[in-house]
């Protein structure tokens, strides 16, 4: 990934490494915590990049995984893939349970 510092760009980007190791009866995922943005040059080390979807399933993502909405912008939503993944999994699980 390369960085293009700008206000708009910083709303999208965070650096990431996700390492998945699978073998035998196990799957392991490691993730860092760095988040860039939402404002230019803003860095935090509190990003949660691994999501437990159920007792048997996890989700993790890298790249453009969130966006901070711009105040007073008519089509600018705040979103992140963790919440979307949780929501979609929940909907599917409920549908599956309902048969």
């Amino acid at each position: 990934m390369f960085l293009l510092p700008s206000t708009l760009w910083a709303q999208y980007v965070h650096g990431t490494v996700l390492v998945l190791e699978g073998g035998g009866d196990y799957i392991v995922i490691a993730a860092d915590s760095l988040r860039l943005g939402p404002s230019p040059s803003e860095v935090s080390h509190s990003a949660c990049k691994i999501v437990k979807l159920s007792n048997q399933l996890v989700f993790a993502a890298s790249g453009i995984t969130s966006r901070q909405g711009v105040r007073n912008h008519p089509v600018s939503d705040t979103w992140n893939v963790r919440d979307i993944a949780r929501h979609e999994y929940s909907v599917l699980a409920n549908e599956h349970a309902a048969g």
Binding site: T16, E21, I29, H45, Q56, L57
Partner: protein
Amino acid sequence: MKLESKLRLYLANGGGATAIIAGFDEQHQRVIVEVKIGIQAPGDHVVGYAIKLLPGGDGTMETEVLGDTTIAGELAGGRTERSRSWRSAISLRSTGLGLKDQLLFEAQYVAESTAQYDPDLVGGPIDLIVVTRKLGVMWVRRKSACRIDSPAEKSVGSQR
């Protein structure tokens, strides 16, 4: 929705997002699905997605690195002096470990090494999670900021 020009440039250069959904299905088979979102073919102007089911047979070992793969690639290549020293360290420190602990150690080592050598893009505490066929999902390391999400989840080992 109109994309900002810099985002469009990023996507045109192969950027986007990649997600992994991993675990065990209802038949207790290992399932690893990778979803890549971005421009799927050079010259395209539309963002699409591609889904890939990674091999998950019991006899296979999988290693997948997403995001900043520079250090992992160097480690896998083993052509530099430092990558050979990383390999020696992994081999030395994982000798005698069971499979689960070996996988945990290797994943953590690659993530921490990437953070050490590429601190502009990767850093902070490393979160570590394991899914086992019999016991399900268990956190091994999880920073406090992520415990707010789901405090009732079970953990193994030490959390930092």
